[in-house]
Symmetry: C2
Subunit: 361 residues, 2 copies
């Protein structure tokens, strides 16, 4: 087991990374408070892992709430099911919420923890690669609004993250690829060596070599922890972690949440941001070649779906949370491993990107 | 105009107290950010004060959302109307939410500010005495769950509080008395001189002498600011501000939110907590006499409604946010001006209080 630390002063917490951690009582129980626990999971994950987590809680009083699976359910309506379970179980401010699942479960359980009785403790046990390398670390919690992704949320740091690499053996291929999209992101924005490592090892990752997966998760979490430590509230560098996400969120909202998976939308979004970076003379043509080759080899989409016209994409992008003073801000690449956030780009170039990076009919 | 400061390091903010501040552009506009404003108010307050606030915003872009009035609407359903207005107006992270109204508006607009795009700026412009002396200061935001009051919320400090004493001239008598209940609370838990001052000046306050009201608001806000400065997140002393509230919230939830006003429920709750304090030998009989005389003179209830049986009160009190490790914690008085939070009390004495402090048929 490897332990990384997210350094945030009083809010610091460990990320435990290793095999078969999910049922390890010695890892989990020291982080559960005195007021019992509510496990929040979904109908896909529960049959696979719920019993192991329940068992590892031993004699700690706990309830379970099982939510429907998928991004389409990341709503305030589903959130109410968590609140209802907390109140029905008479849990108080000393409860610990345990998020067992992918990014949707982590985001929703985390937001419930941020807001139940004005804030309670929670633990992330991610079961998808996307959650392992990205969403479970850093304290971003949220639900979607029908008009925009993650519009309602809070920053609320977990008490710990338990990253069990064994959980990836049961993950559907499509979700594995989504996690790889977010992993590639770290290489693109700040870690060129990791990008090169991904180029070399993509085959092994797709074949679920557990040692390679553990290496990728370690490196990704290390990157995430470094960024969050210097900018918890996304006043600066943390915004770079949203590389590809302004395009990606527009795709997700435009199609209806859940049509494309988050990682798929982000993959296409990263290609679009790279395309725009080339048009603006920031990125070299051969670099975009490396990027699209890796994303394509991972079986991820390179373009936005045909069904969302460029004008609609623009409209949806204007709802992005990075908009300031009415200006859309985008994260652009200057190199593989170097990114900038800027509102200073040519609107025509963006239109060209939106037209060019659209699936052919 | 008097200016108090709530000292919370980077989160510090001023409370402006004075007459005719509500339309004062020079007070309001320096606290509005670059991304425009959304005024959140209700259908009672809007006809009285909305135009003045709109006018004071001058050329700052702003939208308005007018909510139904009353505690019964302090729900996640009403909250959605604020989110919808924010998204429909295409407001970004740099928006400023302006809460114009009483405690319900302040709590809901504040919670929307805490959670829209993971947190935006907001300003409190309280228009009821209760909001002026209590809820607008200190950053507690919340909505009710049908099973419990303020169950869903966050700590989120405002950018400033604009306390316009003139607004009290339009306040219904019943609401004025509710504010007096929370004002008396400060005297009881930590400021015996203020309690004595209230005994002397209650008549003038009920007659809406603006100078006396301003003095009461200043003293109450000073007390609140001191407590919040040492304990923002209610780990210690701040819990004392909930004196009377465990009983009061049980009354509000038991009757259905909005039947009794919050200040009325708190007034009865304070009498019940004092009664229990006497039964437990903490408080002298003659002191409870002073307390009930003042609360009664303010035209506030001294007992819980007949319709909620003691067993139901106990059940509802067990949902209180101060419950820890399954134990109800209550704030008890040792003297006028001195309070303690404790889970160490005789359960039979509590039952006796609940039976004795119930309206006669």
């Amino acid at each position: 087991m490897n332990v990384l630390e997210v350094r945030l002063g009083e809010l610091s917490y460990p990320i435990y990374i290793g095999s078969e951690l999910l049922g390890d009582s010695a890892v989990l129980t020291p982080h559960v408070g005195t007021g019992g626990a509510l496990i929040v999971t979904n109908e896909t994950v529960a049959p696979l892992y719920l019993q192991r987590v329940k068992h590892s809680l031993k004699d700690i009083r706990h309830d379970v709430v099982i939510l429907p699976d998928g991004e389409a359910h990341k709503t305030t309506t589903t959130l109410e099911l968590i609140y209802d379970a907390l109140i029905a179980g008479r849990f108080s401010r000393d409860v610990t919420i345990i998020a067992l699942g992918g990014g949707v479960i982590g985001d929703m359980a985390g937001f419930a923890a941020a807001t139940y009785q004005r804030g309670v403790r929670y633990i992330q046990i991610p079961t998808t690669l996307l959650a392992l390398v990205d969403s479970s670390v850093g304290g971003k919690t949220a639900v979607n609004h029908r008009l925009g992704k993650n519009m309602i949320g809070a920053f609320h740091q977990p008490a710990c993250v338990i990253a069990d690499t064994s959980a990836l053996q049961t993950l559907p291929d499509r979700e594995l690829r989504c996690g790889i999209a977010e992993t590639i992101k770290y290489g693109l924005i700040r870690d060129p060596e990791f990008f090169a490592w991904m180029e070399t090892n993509l085959g092994g990752l797709l074949a679920r070599d557990e040692d390679l997966l553990a290496q990728a998760i370690n490196r990704a979490c290390q990157n995430k922890a470094e960024v969050v430590a210097v900018d918890e509230r996304e006043q600066g560098e943390r915004a770079l972690l949203n590389f590809g996400h302004t395009f990606g969120h527009a795709i997700e909202t435009g199609l209806g949440h859940g049509e494309w998976l988050h990682g798929e939308a982000v993959a296409a979004g990263m290609c679009m941001a790279a395309d725009l970076s080339v048009r603006l003379g920031r990125l070299r043509q051969d670099q975009i070649g490396r990027i699209t080759r890796l994303i394509s080899a991972a079986g991820l989409p390179l373009r936005a779906p045909r069904s969302i016209p460029p004008e609609r994409m623009l409209e949806l992008m204007a709802l992005d949370k990075k908009v300031l003073a009415g200006q859309v801000r985008l994260i652009l690449l200057d190199d593989i491993g170097s990114a900038t956030i800027t509102a200073d780009f040519d609107a025509d170039a963006l239109r060209d990107t939106l037209s060019a990076c659209r699936e052919v009919a």
